[in-house]
Structure formats: structure tokens, C-alpha cells
Symmetry: C2
Subunit: 135 residues, 2 copies
Amino acid sequence: MEFRFFLSVILLTASLSAFSQQKKSEPATDKGLIKVSVMYPFSEGKTFNVDYYETKHMPMVAGILGSNLVKYTIEKGVASGIPNQPLPFMAVGTFYIKSLSEYQSAITPKRDEIRADFANYTNVIPVILVSEVVR
Amino acid sequence: MEFRFFLSVILLTASLSAFSQQKKSEPATDKGLIKVSVMYPFSEGKTFNVDYYETKHMPMVAGILGSNLVKYTIEKGVASGIPNQPLPFMAVGTFYIKSLSEYQSAITPKRDEIRADFANYTNVIPVILVSEVVR
């Protein structure tokens, strides 16, 4: 019976430890990270293939970025938030990175390869914003 | 001794249950959420006070959105990601919400109050993108 009790205490400790590690590995904020937001403007006649972007293009770029990339997100434009205004962007892909200089070193030699893939999913040139996560 | 054993099992179950709830409340992805991105364009002579925005404006809007708001983020524009292009946006504030219709119902009666606060931190009119998180 003593043995069962101690076994339970050990299991309890292990599970509480897993619980606290879970909290550490998924911080509530991305504060301090650099975001590279690739924004595809909407206008009449412009197209964007979200499936290709999600399954081919973004994984390709993510592979180029390597361990500097913390995560990436994809969003699909739905509407302008201002009544009677056109949709500003059809889609946005965002890379959350640790270092901007490492990003530039990784991307520069691959820029032509990345741009050559644009034609496979869109006929628009993106706007790119580099920003710092404040909160 | 039996009592201690059962107490340990109960504690273990409770802690495992907390662990699984933790995973649920902090998902690795925001997939399916709606994003409202309020983007402040950069141009010569335009200003933006990030401190006021972070400490006053965003908490005020967050209060209006209530429980429909999952989280909000603030980012500060650093550069254009395209060489020799101007910075596209000085700052972006983003609300991650569950329901767009609830968002509109909450914001509409408060729109004038929110806009009146703009002059306290910027002299530019934002562009607003409503999008759906695909990944």
C-alpha cells in the first residue's frame, strides 16, 4: 500500500511537471519576435489560390528559413472593416522569425526561386511589411 | 492508507484534467478565428504614438469587444520587406475574434467614440482588413 501511494505521488509530480512545461513551450505572447507579413492586394481581376499557397509555396519558404522561423500563419481576406470600402488584401502570409539579418541571409540567394513560384498561385505583386511584435 | 491512495488518484486525475484543459485553452493555432487588422499607413509627416495605443486605445476597444475577443496583438512597422520600397504601415493592431457579427454589433454603437480617440495617437486614417485564419 505504501508503494502504491508513492507511485501515485511520483505520477502526480510527473504530470504537474508536464503541465508546467506545456505552459513554457507555448507562450501567451509573441512579444519581441519579428514578423514578415506578405500581403496580396485585392483589385478587380486579381486571383489567389489559397490551396497552392498553403500546401506548396509557404512550406517551401519555411524550409528555406529553417530554425530562424518560429511559426507561420496564413489568412484569407474576407472584407474591408470599413463600410463601402473594397477588400484591401486577398490573403496574407506571415513569418514569425527570431532574427531579421538571418532571414535576409537565407532569403536573398533564393529570391528568384521564390518569386518564380508566385505565378503558380497569384497574378498580383505582394506588399511586404517587416514589423516588431510589441504585444 | 487506502484513503491516501485514493486521494492521490483524485489529485492525479484533477491535474491531468487541468493539463488537458490547458492544451485546449492555448491552441497551437488560431485556425478558424476571424482577424480584424487595423493597419496605419506610413507616409511623410505621419505620426503614431505606440505607448498611447498600447496603454489606452487598445484596452478601451478590447473592453468594448468583451468575451468575443480571444486576444489582441500590436506590432510596430520597421521596414518594407522589399528593397528601396517605403515602409507600408507604421503600426498594426489586430483583434482575434470568434464572431464577426458579434464584433459588428459591439463596435457599431461605439464607432464615433473609438474614432474620436484616433487623434490622441495618430494623424492617419487606418486601413482595416477582416480575414479568416486558414493556418
